[in-house]
Symmetry: C2
Subunit: 405 residues, 2 copies
């Protein structure tokens, strides 16, 4: 096997922010209400604007046995240092043969929901900017070519979000965390006829930064029922990203922004061939009447009403839009890996999900070889590294000089 297949770029990992991220960067007047970690009688937690938010064990599971995984709070002392310390993270990456890593935030949540929920909008924006500056300067900046810097945006103000994308693009940011579905957050959908998100999409397309929609970034677990077991919800989460995928394919956004790239982070990939085929099937069969306008109400009750002038504008078949704009991202997905040629060899990237419970660390490379080994070497390289380098316009560091695993 070629040595160039010995390292991967993981496009979905997680950083547990050290407390100084905001303590050291917020103006003095916000030091008391800005995010900080404190201990109280109930244990250790983040505090922000008077709210108490513990970190949970499931979010910092690297190095733990499965019997130790827990949704209950965990302290930073109990975590593996790679969770929060970039130097320790690099050691863990080297051990796992991860050449570079794109990390999602933890305290801000997957796309910055925590700061969107801030009472003080000015503070919220400063917290967003402090995270982004820390990510660029201290996390990614600590080891050039080893971290793909992703930013968060002020979700409540698309014009400010546009400014933040443009500001950080100039500082080397490569990706923007975006919600799998903004509606449960109380924000307009990507279908919004007033095009609330247009400044964000335009800025992402113009700067070449990819949007990354991580599962869970709607702050809403996909529950079929109030009493659906939590474990069933967790099983459903990635398949729920199929909704995000379908949203994008039918949103009309993609044809308006030829350069826009959307990564379905931690969405798995085994469902993608079916979804693309289904979307094309529906367009071919239902496209004629659907192009005349949208219908409100329950079709099966016979009570649907045509809303004039709302026809879907696809621009191309959904499968083509997928290949031009969307990227499936997977941790360990045997059926998906077998389906890479059906999905599109340029549209799949690998993840290790360090330090979450689904992570393959420290066996990611062995698992990847087992899943991908049947593919031609150039395709393996694309999935392991090449697609990430292209999608994020990212040049990784030279291969570290390490002994074999």
């Amino acid at each position: 096997m070629s040595a160039r297949l010995d390292w991967m770029i993981s496009v979905d990992d997680h950083v547990l922010e050290p407390p100084h991220v905001w303590e050291s960067r917020l103006p003095a007047k916000y030091r008391d209400v800005g995010p900080t970690i404190r201990r109280d009688d109930a244990g250790e937690a983040w505090f922000f604007e008077g709210k108490r938010m513990p970190t949970i064990g499931l979010a910092a599971a690297a190095g733990k046995k499965r019997e130790e995984f827990s949704p209950l709070p965990m302290t930073y002392d109990e975590m593996r240092p790679g969770c929060y310390d970039p130097r320790a993270r690099l050691e863990d990456m080297d051990r796992d043969r991860v050449l570079a890593s794109l990390c999602f935030p933890s305290f801000p949540r997957f796309c910055g929901q925590t700061f969107y929920e801030a009472q003080d909008r000015e503070l919220g924006l400063l917290c967003v900017q402090a995270y982004n500056d820390w990510m660029l300067e201290e996390w990614a900046g600590s080891a050039p070519g080893r971290f793909i810097p992703m930013i968060i945006i002020p979700l409540w103000d698309p014009m400010l979000a546009r400014e933040e994308i443009e500001r950080t693009a100039g500082l080397g940011a490569k990706a923007v965390a975006f919600s799998e579905n903004p509606v449960p957050l109380g924000l307009p959908s990507i279908h919004d006829r007033d095009r609330y998100w247009e400044p964000v999409f335009a800025a992402a397309a113009e700067t070449g930064m990819a949007l990354c929609t991580h599962l869970g970034s709607s702050s809403k677990l996909p529950r079929t029922a109030p009493d659906m077991p939590m474990i069933a919800t967790i099983a459903l989460q990635p398949i729920n990203i199929a909704s995000t995928c379908i949203d994008w394919l039918f949103s009309g956004v993609l044809p308006r922004h030829p350069g826009l790239k959307v990564c379905l982070s931690e969405g798995g990939i085994g469902w993608i061939p079916y979804v693309l085929e289904r979307c094309d099937y529906v367009v071919e069969r239902q496209g004629y009447w659907a192009s005349k306008g949208d219908f409100e109400g329950d079709l099966s009750s016979g009570e649907a009403k045509l809303v004039e002038g709302t026809g879907a504008e696809l621009g191309a078949l959904p499968s083509q839009l997928f290949r031009d704009h969307l990227y499936g991202c997977f941790i360990d997905d045997a059926h998906g890996a077998q389906s890479i040629e059906a999905i599109g060899v340029d549209n799949v990237m690998i993840e290790t999900d360090y330090p979450h419970t689904d992570s393959t660390w420290p066996n990611s490379m062995a698992i990847a070889h087992e899943r991908l080994g049947y593919l031609p070497e150039d395709v393996q390289f694309k999935v392991l590294r090449g697609n990430a380098e292209r999608v994020f316009d990212f040049t990784p560091a030279d291969l570290p000089d390490l002994a074999g695993p």
Copy 2:
């Protein structure tokens, strides 16, 4: 190719009920409020308890061009007679090489929601029974061995539902229409700790009748947003059945009822290998903590609370529960057909969806051969007929003596 592969059993078609179903079977005192078809200034519609419910074109699209498909009302005169007349239906089945067909109701909706919504519970039950008797005596009874009789149940009363299952089992019924998710109907979920549905599940298991959960039978379209285009919702519908599948696998119901069979009607199959793999992955990784109890609240916010004594009771790995109890049903699904051996050759059945817009009629057999031709003949036979004969304990008529297509 073997002649035994020239005919299929379709486990998902639809009957548009003729108006006499209820007119001829309800007691005289209910004739005025029972379901009937009338014309008024707005056109033709069903009337029931004073409510007006037109039939829509999308539900009776057989023989129409795609340019004629419409979610607006359609009259019975405009439909192909095979929609509502069993003799005409048989001709259409013969033309499509459909040896036998399982039909879902239309006016009652996919699992009888219309009668569940009735103001008068006594009338609702009589309407359910009238439909079932008509299905058994007049629709299926018109051509023995050509229709697999499926009944609807009084969703509002599981004990009455149990009686209806037992009553109709004795009359030859083979399947029970059940909801893809009862929660949007205002009914308990299948996870219900009080086991609301237990009499239904027990009766189905004891009589050997299969539950068929058709997409759309929650009366709720899977919308990510109020402004999600209708065509995107239609594309999402089958993938939404993945939620139904996961519900069943984690419900604890299947291990309690070894004989229970659940058919994921019109759910497609291409997503199944991914979902089974995902469910097993989650159980192997999260099973330990999840078995201790369920957690309420948003895990990612650190605010989840353990609910003691609510641990999931799976009984077996989800992939094994699927193989023992669940059946994927597909119309035309190339990736799914390629994945039949991964799904399980005994767990897949074919559908034609006559007379809906997704139907393959009158080309079902040619499409099926194209999709399945790569499989061993015994597997092709299972998917085309054998699995349906086993799951529904159904003996089809001798092959009709027809000229070739």
